[in-house]
């Protein structure tokens, strides 16, 4: 399995310190990596390019949701692409988890595999973060008709047919819930999209904690979702 039919889509914003390693580690297993540089000011794009990723550069900063949609548009222009993986640039995601998720989707009975922090005990998140993420997923489940355990996880594997039907408009933070909502409402050939969750290990390093989204962001996410 050379994974030539898989593309990793990596939104990139000011991660020059880690993006080189992230790209190199990913490309050892998945040769196709596209980073969408969202107007980084620290030379992230050059580092990613040197590490062997394709880099699509937003001329101005648009936000992570917009970067994901740009990535989808790019990889859909590759006719060999069957699966899209959304992957974070900050080193929190494990390539091994992606392999397991791809194995799940290649079995052919689901078209989406969501990563979840809360299906096993590997991810060490603070109690407050847990509570906030639980609240977010409860809200998402209530409003989208899906049943997930972790809605704001950036690690997902999507079949081409799903990626081609997504149209993310929430540029900033609410895009995760928007993706879930669109997948929940999606019909392919008259059928609902089948999805599964796989346990993933989110690695909170000191680096990612220092950069990490503050919990105030949750307020913003909810506000963006309500006032679309």
């Amino acid at each position: 399995m050379d994974n030539a039919d898989v593309w990793l889509v990596v939104p990139l914003y000011n991660e020059a310190a880690v993006i080189g390693d992230v790209v190199r580690r990913s490309r050892a297993t998945f040769p196709n990596v596209v980073c969408i540089d969202d107007g980084s000011k620290d030379g992230s794009a050059e580092v990613a390019e040197a590490a062997g990723a394709v880099v699509v550069r937003h001329p101005v900063n648009l936000g992570q949701g917009a970067a994901l949609q740009t990535g989808f548009d790019y990889v859909l222009s590759d006719p060999r692409m069957r699966y899209v993986v959304t992957f974070d640039a900050d080193g929190q995601h494990q390539v091994h988890d992606v392999e397991v998720m791809l194995g799940r989707i290649r079995a052919g009975d689901v078209q989406v595999v969501f990563g979840s922090r809360f299906l096993d005990g590997r991810t060490d998140a603070s109690l407050l973060k847990r509570l906030v993420l639980r609240a977010a997923v409860t809200y998402t489940n209530a409003t989208t008709g899906t049943r997930l355990t972790d809605a704001h996880n950036g690690l997902r594997v999507l079949h081409r047919d799903v990626a081609s039907r997504l149209q993310i408009t929430q540029n900033r933070m609410a895009h995760a819930s928007e993706i879930v909502a669109q997948i929940g409402a999606m019909r392919i050939g008259g059928h609902r999209v089948a999805y599964a969750e796989e346990p993933v290990h989110i690695l909170y390093t000191d680096y990612s904690r220092a950069k990490g989204q503050s919990l105030w962001n949750t307020v913003n996410i909810l506000a963006e979702l309500i006032w679309r």
Partner: protein
């Protein structure tokens, strides 16, 4: 009990603004907005000529003073402005995003294609600092 009149008017005003959020930018909506603006201007002129008019209207709907009525009207108008601006700003942002995305994607070769050759680099300027500033004296 006289409060009921103004409460009804305010509720209708807020609902009208909310409804305005839901209708599109049709010809009709634009025309209505312009007519509303004209009516507002006419009323402003009228109230300059006859400042008492506010108190009379206020008394009619059951508010103590004309100033309170103006305040209520401003609250509704401001809310409407916020709502319309929010919507307009969001649509603008969507267009801007699509434009930026188009530019970003046009700059990279598509998967499986080779990158277009880079233009030849311009000749490097001499790095010696023998160039004297003219008219240095």
């Amino acid at each position: 009990m006289r409060q009921l009149g103004i409460q009804l008017i305010l509720i209708v005003g807020v609902l009208a603004v909310a409804w305005r959020l839901l209708i599109s930018y049709g010809q009709k909506a634009i025309a209505l907005r312009r007519l509303g603006l004209l009516a507002l201007a006419a009323f402003a002129v009228w109230s300059i000529l006859d400042p008492q008019i506010w108190n009379e209207i206020a008394g009619f709907v059951g508010i103590g003073r004309g100033a309170d009525l103006i305040l209520y009207g401003l609250v509704v108008a401001f809310f409407g402005f916020v709502a319309t601006t929010f919507r307009r700003f969001r649509d603008l942002n969507n267009r801007y995003t699509r434009l930026a995305r188009r530019i970003a994607l046009d700059e990279v070769p598509r998967p499986g294609q080779v990158a277009p050759p880079l233009p030849p680099a311009p000749p490097t300027p001499p790095t010696t600092s023998t160039v004297k500033a003219a008219d240095a004296d």
